[in-house]
């Protein structure tokens, strides 16, 4: 270690450029894992079921929705069994809402560390993405018995799932990077965002299909990038599901927004320690 080139830290009032900031994130990548590990350990510390809770939550949601919408209201999803339709929708939506909610709170949650030790603060929401991935993987386990039960096969297109999840993450982080950058001063966001998440699920095809929605609010569906994500997940999983054309335009909007979000956050994070 002594033979390394001398490490120098330069402190000025200047902000990092986007490139410098991205390099910093890379340098601190181990911390992303460390924080994710901490969250997972803490979440299931002193519980009997541990990770089992991750499966119980979507399972109950699945049971309730399948019963009311599928069985009582007889909603159908083309030729797909309704429970599979709901579960595939929940996969994408829960992943998204976990990152948005936890990501925004992550800065406040780690206030004590932020005030004492330096690290790029984007590490905090990024670690939440990892936690969300673990939970997603566990929820996915529910899928297998359900597929067998309904005698459905899975599509080879599942190999595209990582790309869809990456897109899903970018949408979620785009929201987090702006809300977290503002929430430390405008605390109202801590109330507004859960509210939006609560309503968001109703303009995203998680429970119902497009034709259930009235014509007048059809545009919300197209404006919502999460519709594209949820539909694309179904396209990846089910052999006969048609490709969602909304995917590409959404991509064009989200990618620049995401990078602008990183830049915006890197500006804001310097003030975190002075204000939280």
């Amino acid at each position: 270690m002594k033979n390394q080139a001398p490490l120098v830290t330069i402190i000025t009032s200047e902000q990092d450029t986007l490139k410098e900031y991205v390099l910093k994130i890379w340098k601190y990548r181990a911390l992303i894992f460390a924080f994710a590990q901490r969250d997972l350990k803490v979440k299931y510390a002193q519980t009997w079921l541990g990770l089992g809770w991750t499966i119980i939550q979507p399972l109950t949601a699945l049971a309730v929705f399948s019963f009311f919408f599928g069985y009582v209201l007889h909603w159908r999803a083309d030729d797909l069994p309704y429970s599979l339709y709901v579960l595939s929708g929940l996969l994408g939506w829960n992943f998204f809402s976990y990152i948005v909610f936890q990501g925004m709170n992550s800065v406040q949650e780690s206030a004590h560390v932020i005030k004492k030790i330096y690290f790029p603060k984007i590490v905090l929401p990024l670690s939440k993405v990892l936690v969300a991935l673990v939970e997603l993987a566990i929820t996915f386990l529910l899928f297998i018995p359900l597929l067998i039960w309904h005698e459905q096969s899975i599509s080879w297109k599942i190999i595209f799932i990582p790309a869809v999840l990456l897109f899903n993450t970018m949408i979620a982080l785009s929201i987090v990077l702006f809300t977290a950058s503002l929430a430390y001063r405008i605390r109202d966001l801590f109330h507004v965002v859960p509210f939006l998440l609560y309503f968001g699920i109703w303009v995203t095809p998680v429970f119902f299909t497009k034709d259930v929605l009235p014509e007048q609010i059809n545009f919300l569906w197209h404006l919502n990038p999460m519709s594209a994500v949820v539909e694309s997940i179904r396209w990846c999983l089910f052999p006969n599901w048609s490709f969602s054309s909304g995917f590409l335009p959404a991509l064009l909007v989200i990618i620049p927004l995401f990078f602008f979000g990183i830049y915006f956050y890197s500006k804001a994070e310097n003030k975190f320690s002075d204000f939280i």
Binding site: I10, T12, S13, V42, Q46, K116, I117, Y118, F119
Partner: protein, 388 residues
């Protein structure tokens, strides 16, 4: 850039914006608070410096900037090597995690890889002395255990620059000694640099050879420990407490055997304290006493004629009487001492003039400047040594 420089600071300033306006020195209202003003200095590799100053002088802000936690408003600092910013013991500990898990988490937050921590893990745990409880969640730890573990982590990981904010006095007496020994070991290494903030003057004097005095965001030139501590102890003005209307005027002067007034004495000569005072009103039997305080703000002694069976020496309010007391030669150690005046009757404190005056003692001819290992204390008596 010079290879022997560890920290180089140029014109560092920090301005906080306030939510409510305050009056500045000129009486204009402002929303700005300049916590640090144009700080510049350089610290060589392997040197340790202390920073002293009253509360709110900007010490912690300064360390926060060096640690990268907050940005300066202007100026620049360069720090060479790996930085341990220990602004709080155990920042980053999570109460729900086990001791073992927290060692890794804390180490990683401080910028170490899992492998680096793994190689030091046994040492860390052994030093903390809580092997038995390392797999308990830290929320079940006592405060002392928590601090022990946190402290062990920071002293066992290999940093080049340590930024310490009031974190050295942790745990019980035994552990504190252990910490100090460990810190002293690190300080003694030629390539470790320490920047230490502390209110415990004793602590600073043990660790560093140079100190800065910071007040209202303005830093002094590098000072010897004695001078920095002197400034710190005297940062408050001469203060009269309790019944400020009692003593009208009081002055303290120091005279040598020839009757010459001075403030620097050798430890081999007697010092005569000469007090003159006048009062506003009569308060019955008034006793006067002096309190001598050393550079670390420890009381060396209290003295008053009434304590010496000379009977009640009543003060005549009509006249400004001269009161003298002589500190014998060969008693005090080198350093500076301050004198407080205390006025009291029977059991009641009437008035107190803190830091009425000070004097410095230098080494006289009968002593060598050689140092013994360990602390020296406020006294340096000439003992009658015999070897038989």
């Amino acid at each position: 850039m010079n290879n022997d420089v560890s920290i180089n600071i140029e014109n560092l300033s920090k301005c906080y914006s306030l939510q409510h306006s305050v009056k500045d020195a000129k009486g204009n209202s402002t929303y700005e608070l300049w916590a640090l003003k144009n700080i510049s200095f350089e610290i060589e590799r392997g040197k340790s410096v202390g920073i002293v100053g009253p509360n709110g002088s900007g010490k912690s802000t300064f360390l926060k900037i060096l640690a990268g936690v907050t940005k300066p408003t202007s100026g620049r600092a360069e720090i060479y090597g790996r930085i341990a910013s220990i602004l709080d013991i155990g920042a980053g500990f999570h109460p729900e995690l086990r001791g073992r898990e927290n060692v890794f988490l804390n180490g990683q937050i401080l910028g170490f890889s899992k492998n680096e921590i793994k190689t030091k893990f046994d040492e860390i745990v052994a030093f903390s002395g809580i092997e038995k409880f390392i797999d308990e969640p830290v929320k079940n730890y006592s405060n002392g255990m928590y601090l022990r573990l946190a402290f062990s982590i920071m002293v066992h990981l290999d940093f080049d620059v340590y930024l310490l904010d009031e974190v050295l006095s942790v745990g019980d007496v035994e552990f504190r000694t252990k910490c100090f020994d460990k810190i002293s070991e690190l300080v003694a290494m030629s390539d470790k640099t320490f920047v230490l903030i502390s209110h415990n003057l004793n602590e600073i004097s043990k660790i560093s050879d140079t100190a800065f005095f910071l007040k209202d965001g303005i830093i002094s030139e590098p000072l010897s420990i004695d001078n920095a501590l002197y400034r710190y102890t005297n940062a408050g003005e001469k203060t009269t407490v309790r019944l400020p209307s009692f003593v009208k005027q009081a002055s303290v002067e120091f005279k040598d055997a020839a009757g010459k007034t001075k403030t620097e004495f050798m430890n081999t000569e007697p010092i005569t304290i000469e007090i003159r005072n006048s009062f506003h009103a009569s308060a019955g039997n008034v006793q006067i006493g002096v309190r001598l305080t050393d550079r670390l703000n420890n009381v060396v002694f209290n003295s008053s004629p009434i304590l010496q069976k000379q009977g009640l020496v009543e003060i005549d309010f009509a006249n400004d009487k001269k009161i003298t007391a002589t500190i014998p030669a060969y008693l005090l150690n080198t350093g500076f001492f301050t004198v407080d005046l205390v006025y009291f009757n029977d059991n009641k404190l009437l008035d107190e003039i803190v830091k009425a005056n000070y004097f410095t003692i230098v080494l006289g001819d009968d002593f060598t400047s050689r140092k013994m290992i360990g602390e020296s204390g406020p006294l340096k008596p000439y003992l009658d040594w015999k070897i038989e």
